[in-house]
Symmetry: none
DNA sequence: CTATAATATTAGTACGTATAAATTTTCAAG
DNA sequence: CTTGAAAATTTATACGTACTAATATTATAG
């Protein structure tokens, strides 16, 4: 070994081995090494390059070159995996494909591979997937939580992710027991927007349908209540309808049919829906009951999904970032991955959430309260 | 990846993956690569250096640079992955989420993990994903082909999959140049069903819209033509409209608007659509033109997607197995994986395709030709 | 004191040149 | 045809310059 670069290489390696450089400690910069050894920068870079490839050092542009932590560094890290797990409740329904697309598209561009897991809103499935993720080596995990409003039996698995230094974040909702980084809508404000819009149009008898086994639903309901309180409008006892995953296909429709049997004077004049999917389904019920939207009854959706302007009556609804949210989640998780790779320590994010501002999207499903219904 | 050295790097890697360079074959010398890519020797060496470090190449001073033999290398890193790659054109649109769900759900139950890749119907993306799949170790690949009707530049990658004994199959369509196992609709028959249904209702002036850069579109068009021939009905020259991925958002709508300017006697009385998505879009145009469906004009979709009965006018359409197809694809690929693991030899499937029988789903968008339009 | 803008530092990319060392090719001598 | 020396080719080492991009530090304004 008489080449200059190998002299530099050996010298640095010695300093690592004799403990001069501790793991994650910054070594001399390239220009300092140039002077120190009296060689060109090219030679220094050659030496450092070799050591980086052999796992002795890592470099950070703008920051410096650092001693790597080779303690747990075994054969498995030889294979560059670059893969992110994406757990969602559903994957073919509603706005979820758009969210997934946003994430997949960004991660692909960054050379990452996306593995999909859909829980069908079932904790048992979620558990199985978390086990799989813990068993294999993923760089990061994006989770859309299953039944976020009820207590989650898989908390321990998430804590294990933290222990194993696998970054994760949650979108759309989050488990209250954990305090994960999460990217969500301001659902409470969204619920207020829906309701206030109707109140401003003169409606006072407004029925609200909310799915209450996820946190979005409970927050949107909170917004609905808040809007009533703010405008000092009493809520009729039957006007809050809650449902959940198991009865979502039957209960809201049945309840609405019941409500429509009331005399016209007592009948609600407007409907706040948990989401567009429900709104579209309720539109069918209204059509069957020969009620015109928005003349006879107004209806507001949530999420501004593709469904909203597919129908004859274009839905007034609340915006949801969808693919934008997916993309942001992808960006953030890669950022977390990068940081966790660098420091091998769990990071505390400065701010532990990103909240999207909801906006009302006005279309044709809402109108001022007409006199004739009175 | 837009740096010069990474361009060189990727180019060389591609040539290894597509089989241009066989193991132990000498690749171009540094000076040749300099000319070839118009870069400096330093840049070439950077690229080669990386590839050497990653085990793609090895260098011999004075002799040249050679393609490494990675075959026995990856045997050691066999970690019982149990993962299947799923390449689709789109993932958030239309019926694709359902297909993906069908596959994901089955594969998950079998303990496999699903990695998603969406090409956005772009060959370049398809190539990148195939490279990734060849680089890592997947047990099998399900492909929904990109632009299946035009000649595919990535044939070599598929041949390399065969060479490396990674089973793959195609759904929805297939590349003619290869003869892969594929699971498809009988699209030609589907096109016939659409058209014959209208002919039986008395229509003779039927315009057909077909997307012709995928094989489904060309086959459905074939069915449309066949139905006309069978019933000895001449096709008006303007009644065949073809479009493709790039102009799908504009051309069909524009052409229909033109056609509707014709006097009522010459105007088409029925429309055959490539799929439901297009049918829904054309419904909007018809609504704007104050034409009633199905009284004034009949329209038939294809795929029986969720869109078909979301609108006021429920679409008559042709069934598509969707999630069922995805699930079948999953079953078949696992079968192929099992066989290839057992025999370590490429299998010839007894029958190399599965074809779903299309069925007409009658709803409210088609009606007998009314007298008043004559 | 805090937030922000400007500056400095550090690694990354890319061009150039020159010479050394190992291997292959060529060609002439035997 | 074989051998061996010379020439050509090819990778390896090493110097230089210039600019870019990311990060860290410092100075400044509020």
């Amino acid at each position: 070994m008489q080449t200059k670069y190998s002299i530099v290489k050996e010298a640095i390696k010695s300093q690592i081995l004799d403990g001069t450089f501790q793991p994650h400690e910054k070594i001399s910069s390239e220009s300092e090494l140039m002077e120190e050894f009296g060689v060109s920068r090219h030679t220094v870079r050659l030496a450092i390059g070799d050591l980086v490839n052999q796992g002795w050092l890592y470099r950070e542009q703008g920051a410096g070159t650092f001693c790597a932590d080779r303690s747990k560094n075994n054969a498995q890290s030889m294979v560059e995996q670059k893969s992110i797990a994406l757990i969602t409740t559903y994957l073919s329904d509603y706005i979820f494909p758009s969210i997934i697309r946003g994430a997949e598209s960004y991660l692909s561009k960054q050379g990452y591979q996306v593995s999909l897991f859909s829980t069908n809103n079932d904790h048992e499935n979620e558990r199985k997937f978390l086990e799989k993720i813990l068993t294999q080596q993923f760089d990061g995990v994006i989770v859309e939580p299953t039944k976020s409003a009820v207590s989650n039996p898989n908390i321990n698995y998430y804590l294990n992710l933290e222990r194993e230094n696998i970054p994760y974040l949650m979108i759309n909702a989050y488990y209250d027991e954990l305090e994960p980084f999460h990217i969500v809508m301001d659902d409470e404000k969204g619920g207020m927007l829906q309701t206030e819009h109707l109140i401003e149009l003169g409606h006072t008898n407004i029925v609200g349908f909310f799915k209450t086994d996820d946190i979005q639903g409970t927050k949107r309901m909170k917004g609905y209540l808040k809007a009533h309180r703010k405008h000092a409008i009493d809520i009729q006892p039957n006007n809050i309808v809650t449902y959940n995953t198991v009865d979502k296909a039957t209960k809201p429709a049945a309840v609405l049919k019941e409500l429509l049997k009331e005399p016209a004077s007592k009948r609600p004049t407007a409907i706040v829906c948990y989401n567009d999917e429900l709104a579209i389904r309720l539109l069918d019920i209204l059509r069957e009951a020969r009620l015109k939207v928005p003349e006879d009854i107004s209806i507001v959706g949530f999420d501004n999904s593709f469904m909203a302007d597919l129908t004859e009556v274009k839905l007034t609804t609340v915006s949801h970032p969808q693919s934008e949210m997916g993309e942001l989640a992808a960006k953030v998780i890669l950022d977390m991955v990068k940081k966790s790779k660098a420091s091998k320590k769990q990071q505390n994010m400065e701010n532990d959430l990103i909240r999207f501002e909801p906006k009302l999207v006005e279309r044709n499903s809402t109108a001022p309260l007409s006199k004739k219904t009175k």
